[in-house]
């Protein structure tokens, strides 16, 4: 498997909501960048864009 293929596989797993379980255990079960956190971040991004558009319209 090439590096690019491994990256692609990892991305697909993340988008399916999977986390590297063993790594989470090693890092005391605390990980910030979970799929849920990234979804929230995406919503914040979208809200920021909307605010910018409203300001431009005004």
């Amino acid at each position: 498997m090439k590096f690019e293929d491994a990256i692609e596989k990892s991305i697909k797993a993340f988008l399916d909501g999977k986390l590297p379980e063993e790594l989470v255990k090693v890092q005391d079960g605390e990980i910030l960048y979970t799929p849920e956190y990234m979804d929230e971040m995406a919503e914040d991004f979208a809200d920021l864009d909307l605010e910018d558009e409203v300001e431009e319209d005004v």
């Binding site: 991305i11 910030l32 799929p35 920021l48 864009d49």
Partner: protein
């Protein structure tokens, strides 16, 4: 003839080189998942890196390729290990998606690549080789010359045949020459 170089490095060969020659030979600077993602996201906030990332997205480079490139940079600089780069690729990809969406860039995700099987025909197409036997015969349309106008051929009405004596003069068959 048997060549030992085909087998790869000789066992223990790594001990013959200075292990601090390259950044990736040393222990990584970042060994946490969140730290790795933080580092890559911070890198994307750098003006030069951001320009490259946005440009790559705009020209339709798949996001997976861009993520792989960013991760390779980090590995090359000894910031994190390959394993960590692979594990942290998901959040970085998601962040790139957000950037593209917020900038209204139509991106190629690169996740649904279909492998094109390599055949003799596809290779020939890539290399620009066309066999006469295999080339499909396309019906050739009869060329139609424009009629009339300055550059067009004369229409049947315009065509006038020169008289026989004029034709003979043009061919140099005048009476004088014939006499000579």
């Amino acid at each position: 003839m048997f060549d030992t170089r085909d087998l790869g490095p000789v066992p223990g060969e790594n001990y013959t080189a200075d292990t601090r020659n390259y950044p990736w030979h040393r222990p990584p600077e970042i060994d946490t998942y969140d730290g790795t993602v933080d580092y890559v996201i911070d890198r994307m906030r750098d003006e030069q890196t951001a320009e490259i990332v946005y440009s790559l997205m705009e020209i339709g480079r798949p996001l997976t390729n861009i993520v792989a490139g960013l991760m390779m940079q980090g590995i090359g600089r000894g910031k994190f290990q390959i394993d960590m780069a692979v594990l942290a690729a998901g959040p970085v990809y998601r962040y790139l998606q957000m950037l593209a969406d917020s900038s209204n860039i139509k991106y190629e995700d690169g996740l649904n690549k279909k492998r094109i099987p390599i055949t003799a025909t596809t290779l020939k197409m890539v290399m620009g080789i066309i066999d006469d036997e295999e080339a499909p015969e396309e019906p050739v349309e009869a060329a139609t010359a424009p009629v009339g106008g300055l550059m067009g051929s004369p229409s049947p009405e315009e065509t006038t045949e020169a008289p026989a004596d004029v034709q003979a003069a043009m061919l140099g068959m005048t009476d004088e020459e014939e006499e000579v």
